[in-house]
């Protein structure tokens, strides 16, 4: 039994396929999804989503403004913005973070921080 995972943003479908495990963080805390998980709707925190495929490589993606829904072993991750973690432009994220901190924009700062954290973990 495997999970069917879809990671979609409004502009494109970022990733979809079979996986054995999904690990991410909701605004309440870390969460791991295995096959047979109870139906769930959760608001995600800005940060990393890890999709572990059976025997395959792990997919890591940054998700901003995200949302998770699980039903019948189908996992849908909706994100306002998403990008594979290894494609994050560290320099521009750092610049954004500085800018956001100066402007006192907490939302933008948290987005930039999530990007940086994901990039360093990748």
């Amino acid at each position: 039994m495997a999970l069917y995972v879809e990671l979609v943003s409004p502009e494109r479908s970022v990733w979809s396929g079979e996986a054995s495990r999904v690990i991410t963080r909701t605004i309440e805390g870390d969460i791991g999804i295995l096959p047979g998980h109870t139906p769930l709707l959760a608001v995600l925190a800005n940060g990393l989503v890890r999709i572990v495929a059976e025997g395959g490589p792990e997919v890591r993606a940054v998700v901003l403004g995200g949302f998770l829904s699980v039903a019948d072993d189908r996992v849908s991750i909706l994100a306002e913005w998403s990008q594979p973690a290894d494609e994050v432009d560290v320099a521009s994220a750092e610049a954004e973070l500085r800018q956001a901190e100066q402007a006192g924009d907490a939302d933008a700062a948290s987005r930039a921080r999530a990007l940086l954290a994901a990039a360093s973990g990748a």
Partner: protein, 300 residues
């Protein structure tokens, strides 16, 4: 070469040059329609998934969210009108604007003030030329809108919607855009996006919704989802409008190319006739001259 023929030849050359340009624009638009259509389809999984989640959350939470609350006596309404930045797209922008005028008239007859939010340079210049008040304007992305653009517009509209009426708040938000039905048909339509109507279908859905657990709670999930849903509705409108814009431009440029072809044909006929006439005249002049000479020698 006589003057008339020269003038006609020049005109043919100029029409042919224009034809090349319109033909190129036609081809460019044709390829962009496909791309724009692809983007409409790529946005669909997100929107569908969002709608499904929203329906689930709404059926669980007590739906009393400010974004879904109807105001009994609506005083003011935002009307978002999506037009293009550039012209040469036939009646594309003017159709959307006309649809907007119709909606504005309807809203006014219901006693609501209309606050126009304009997307695209054409709409902005239409309102500015008439000296009308503009609630907000966004330009520069009509042919290739990004999600961030949609969010800006939606955030501005939601902010006004949540503000109290005395401080310029509005009670309704409508959007006028051009629906992309298919390659041949695009249609200007007006839709209300706020207050949101969360579809709580009375008839049983094909599959009963699973009993979701909510994290942190159904209300919080709904809180997070509703604004995203508004943005997604605006984004869909922008994407469809972009596809329609390219389709309208392609059609307009095809018509222009066909017209240029007709013109070239007509001018070529005229130029040929003029050339023939000139040759005939020359011949008759030569013949006339030769005859006169022959007559003169015979008379000696």
């Amino acid at each position: 070469m006589p003057a008339q023929v020269r003038v006609l030849r020049r005109r043919i050359r100029s029409v042919q040059a224009t034809k090349k340009i319109t033909r190129a624009m036609e081809l460019i638009s044709a390829s962009r329609i496909v791309k724009a259509q692809g983007r409409v389809n790529e946005a669909r999984p997100y929107a569908d998934e969002l709608t499904r989640a929203l329906t689930a959350a709404a059926s669980k939470a007590t739906v009393d969210h400010p974004l879904t609350t109807e105001h009994a006596s609506a005083k003011r309404a935002i009307m978002i009108v999506v037009t293009s930045d550039r012209g040469l797209a036939g009646a594309y922008s003017s159709t959307a604007i006309r649809e907007g005028e119709g909606l504005a008239g309807l809203l006014r007859s219901e006693g609501k003030d209309v606050v126009p939010f304009l997307v695209g340079r054409k709409g902005v210049s239409f309102y500015r030329f008439r000296g009308r008040e503009i609630g907000g304007e966004w330009t520069g992305f009509s042919d290739n809108p990004r999600y961030a653009d949609a969010r800006e517009i939606a955030d501005a509209a939601v902010e006004r919607f949540l503000a109290p009426t005395e401080e310029g708040g509005v009670d309704e938000v409508h959007i006028v855009f051009t629906e992309f039905v298919n390659m041949g048909t695009q249609q200007a339509v007006a839709r209300r996006i706020l207050p949101l109507v969360v579809e709580e279908t009375t008839e049983a859905p094909e599959q009963a919704l699973p009993l979701y657990e909510f994290e942190p709670s159904a209300e919080r999930v709904l809180d997070a989802l509703l604004p995203k849903y508004v943005v997604s509705r605006v984004f869909d409108a922008l994407l469809q409008s972009a596809a329609s814009e390219h389709a309208a431009r392609r059609r307009a440029m095809k018509a222009a190319t066909d017209n240029a072809e007709e013109l070239v044909k007509a001018y070529t006929r005229e130029a040929n006739a003029a050339r023939q006439a000139a040759i005939t005249q020359e011949i008759s002049e030569i013949v006339g001259g030769a005859n006169a000479l022959a007559d003169a020698t015979a008379a000696k």
